[in-house]
């Protein structure tokens, strides 16, 4: 399932942009590929992460996957509820945001995919 109105990265993260902030999560396709999510490692609030760098990891029973930030940003907030209930990423991937960030370079948003362009492929 692809949620309309969001931007997507080829690496299967979604972004909801609101002015100078963006909310980031992983797509339904990403959670389906991972299987049962059992652990999430979140970044520190205040941390600045460059485009393409890892901002944490999501782990299923079987595998660990780094999550990559598709734009540069400063972490404003993390969804700490996921630390105790990471399985929310399976049951509600678009309702379970992972980080909120301050967008550092709006031009980088141009490289993201619209919902109509995003493909649920590996």
């Amino acid at each position: 399932m692809i949620k309309k109105g969001l931007l997507y990265a080829k690496s299967h993260e979604w972004l909801n942009v609101d002015g100078k902030t963006a909310t980031v999560g992983i797509s339904d396709h990403a959670q389906d590929n991972l299987g049962d999510v059992v652990f999430i490692e979140l970044p520190q609030v205040g941390q600045t992460i460059k485009k393409g760098e890892s901002f944490g990891a999501v782990e299923s029973v079987k595998a660990a996957s780094d999550m990559y930030l598709p734009i540069s940003g400063k972490i404003l907030e993390v969804n700490s509820a996921l630390e105790n209930t990471p399985e929310l990423l399976n049951s509600d991937p678009y309702g379970s945001w992972i980080v909120k960030l301050e967008i550092l370079d709006e031009k980088e948003l141009d490289s993201l995919l619209k919902d109509s362009e995003y493909k649920e492929e590996d």
Partner: protein
């Protein structure tokens, strides 16, 4: 990419398929955790047709196999033996099961990923013995039905009495217009049976078991189950760089046996053991994965072989191969996880008490 005879059946069950050892195999159907739980509390069925089967046939079959592997293979047409295939340096090329089907007819069941390497090795060693080695893997399928309730239904599925088998024993039983091999073995730590036969027989047995409420399980649960029961996996706890003694598999190396490949080297390895396979638990939430580095203070002392965060376990657990001197229970260590040192403690590696059925004085 190869497919097992049950491939279409996996797709029908919406399995998540992955590439494994040259085969397209189901990693899970509903989810690894629920499948793991089904095997521990009820029953699960696994397609393990990707495993390799070699037949050693001829007058010297038993003598040859005893020269080939590290354990003692006896002339007993009901016993299954776990053993190691060692190279001359005493390192395992594989771990395998041996079935003495007849005095001149011995079945070796090897790991899927090592099939080709193993067969080349076996073929290269058979010269001088009055027997031949045949790779019959493509002729047969195999399923494993595992779980505490399996005994209640196994006779019904097969229309034969096999529930009287003891752990690590087998029978050949009539099935349809032929026969299947049924052994009370498995790699989950639970009671259960492995069944080998022609493809169409195994497809029928797969369908019959599903009709009797057995949960289809993928390779994911197979791995979490074997790990929890402290059963080693080739490529992780067993490899060509880990001696049988370091891996805790000395029980499968019989140094009092007549000559076998790797014997001389094993005598040395036993004396010179410097590393040890240990259990550990993380003291905070994270997941220790295969190959992560293990430290004592600042010193690198080894690597994780397998690690998981399993449902029902408060702490993430793992197995690691480390320098022997740090292997004492309770020793505090660290696991390097994504550039972070996560504190851990050495613990007993028996995370689960095996539930095998040893009957009749075995």
């Amino acid at each position: 990419m190869k497919k097992t005879s049950l491939y279409e059946h996996h797709l029908k069950l919406n399995s998540k398929m992955i590439e494994y050892a040259g085969y397209l195999m189901p990693v899970y159907y509903q989810g690894i955790q629920s499948e793991h739980h089904s095997v521990r509390t009820h029953m699960g069925v696994f397609d393990v047709s990707h495993m390799g089967e070699f037949l050693i046939e001829g007058k010297d079959a038993l003598t040859f196999v005893n020269y080939l592997v590290s354990n003692i293979i006896v002339d007993d047409l009901s016993k299954v033996t776990y053993t190691l295939l060692l190279n001359e340096q005493g390192y395992p090329l594989d771990d395998l099961l041996v079935y003495v089907i007849g005095k001149e007819n011995i079945l070796l069941v090897v790991n899927a990923g090592n099939k080709e390497k193993d067969f080349d090795w076996v073929s290269s060693k058979v010269d001088g013995f009055d027997c031949v080695a045949r790779d019959i893997s493509d002729n047969f399928s195999q399923i494993a039905i595992q779980g505490p309730k399996t005994q209640d239904i196994i006779d019904k599925i097969l229309d034969a009495t096999v529930s009287d088998l003891s752990f690590m024993h087998y029978k050949v039983v009539p099935y349809k217009e032929g026969h299947v091999i049924v052994s009370r073995t498995g790699y989950t730590g639970e009671d259960g049976f492995e069944i080998y036969g022609y493809h169409n027989f195994i497809i029928d047995l797969w369908n019959d078991s599903l009709a009797l409420d057995v949960t289809p399980c993928g390779l994911g649960a197979r791995d979490t189950l074997r790990f929890q029961a402290n059963l080693p996996l080739y490529g992780q706890e067993i490899s060509e760089t880990i001696t049988p003694y370091e891996a805790g598999l000395g029980f499968a190396v019989k140094l009092d046996k007549m000559n076998f490949i790797g014997k001389e080297a094993c005598i040395k390895h036993k004396e010179e053991k410097t590393r040890k396979l240990v259990g550990f638990e993380l003291l905070e939430k994270n997941i220790p994965r295969h190959d992560y580095e293990v430290y004592k203070d600042e010193k690198l002392i080894g690597h994780v072989t397998t690690g998981y965060l399993l449902a029902g376990f408060e702490k993430p657990i793992g197995l690691a191969l480390i320098e022997k001197e740090y292997g004492k229970l309770g020793t505090e260590i660290s696991i390097k996880i994504r550039n972070k040192m996560v504190p851990a403690s050495i613990r007993d590696k028996k995370f689960y008490t095996k539930n095998y059925k040893k009957l009749g004085g075995f």
